[in-house]
């Protein structure tokens, strides 16, 4: 017998569905210089950096100034990203590209406020950027 079945848990999917968003994004609160992940070599030497390693963001609360650009760098093989729930940076949820090892993703914060973010496939990975 060869049943074309697949019983991945829809409940589990729903549990994580809250954390899914769509890629393309443009809003005033944040600007994304590059939708695609960039090699770590392209990160400026004086950049504000959040490293991602061992299933966590190394700066749970990062304080920056309005207009600053934050670079996230994935230091491990496990893919990670930066995602905001609905209402944090706009009416729609925002989901950044997945980063492989030694790839970076940057976001410029244009408005003061507190921006809590998470990793799409790893919702227990959370941190905040506080823009003053």
């Amino acid at each position: 017998m060869n049943f074309p079945t697949k019983s991945r848990s829809v409940l589990a999917a729903l549990m994580l569905a809250a954390f899914s968003g769509t890629g393309a994004f443009a809003a005033d609160t944040i600007t994304v210089p590059s939708e695609a992940a960039v090699p770590v070599a392209e990160v400026p030497a004086d950049a504000i950096i959040v490293n991602i390693e061992k299933m966590k963001y190394d700066q749970p609360e990062l304080k920056v100034k309005t207009g600053d650009t934050v670079y996230w760098i994935n230091k491990e093989v496990m893919p990670h990203n930066v995602a905001f729930k609905k209402g944090v940076v706009g009416d729609e949820p925002f989901k950044g590209e997945m980063l492989k090892k030694d790839q970076a993703y940057s976001i410029t914060f244009n408005e003061a406020g507190s921006y809590e973010y998470h990793c799409t496939p790893h919702p227990f990975m959370r941190a905040t950027v506080i823009v003053e």
């Binding site: 017998m1 697949k6 991945r8 829809v10 999917a13 994580l16 954390f19 899914s20 093989v77």
Partner: protein
């Protein structure tokens, strides 16, 4: 049920230790499929690392460290689902090397990993097995 999705080939012991091979991508014991749950995309118009035409590739995924018998190295495989079409029904497999319960979602393969697919597609069609890096 999951048991149906991955019935072991006739004459093999489904409980025996998983023995990977490196010559047939469409077989459940291909080394990169060490933690696949669902259907191999190569059997429905996709490939080992590409979705079939008309389906949407998810960005998020679960992962596993799979041992390659050819070079003796282990690689991290990011099992990304191709979504937005009904399940292919071809080459069903279920392997769970290093798989963990759903409270450790990064290694849980029961989840429908369609997050980030275009058009918010959440219907499972098949799974690809791309390498994302070398596992230690």
């Amino acid at each position: 049920s999951r048991a149906n999705a991955a019935s072991a080939p006739e004459g093999t012991d489904p409980r025996a230790k998983w023995v990977p091979q490196d010559n047939d991508v469409q077989s459940c014991d291909y080394w990169r499929h060490c933690s696949i749950d669902g259907n191999i995309c190569d059997c429905s118009g996709g490939s080992l690392t590409n979705c079939p035409p008309g389906t949407k590739l998810a960005t998020a995924s679960w992962v596993a460290s799979c041992y390659n018998p050819t070079d003796g190295q282990s690689y991290l495989i990011a099992y990304r689902d191709c979504c937005g079409a009904n399940v292919s029904g071809r080459c069903p497999c279920l392997n769970t090397e290093g798989e963990l319960p759903v409270y450790r979602p990064e290694f849980a393969n029961d989840i429908i990993w369609c997050f980030g697919a275009e058009d918010d597609a959440m219907t499972y069609h098949c799974t690809i097995s791309p390498i994302v890096g070398k596992a230690s």
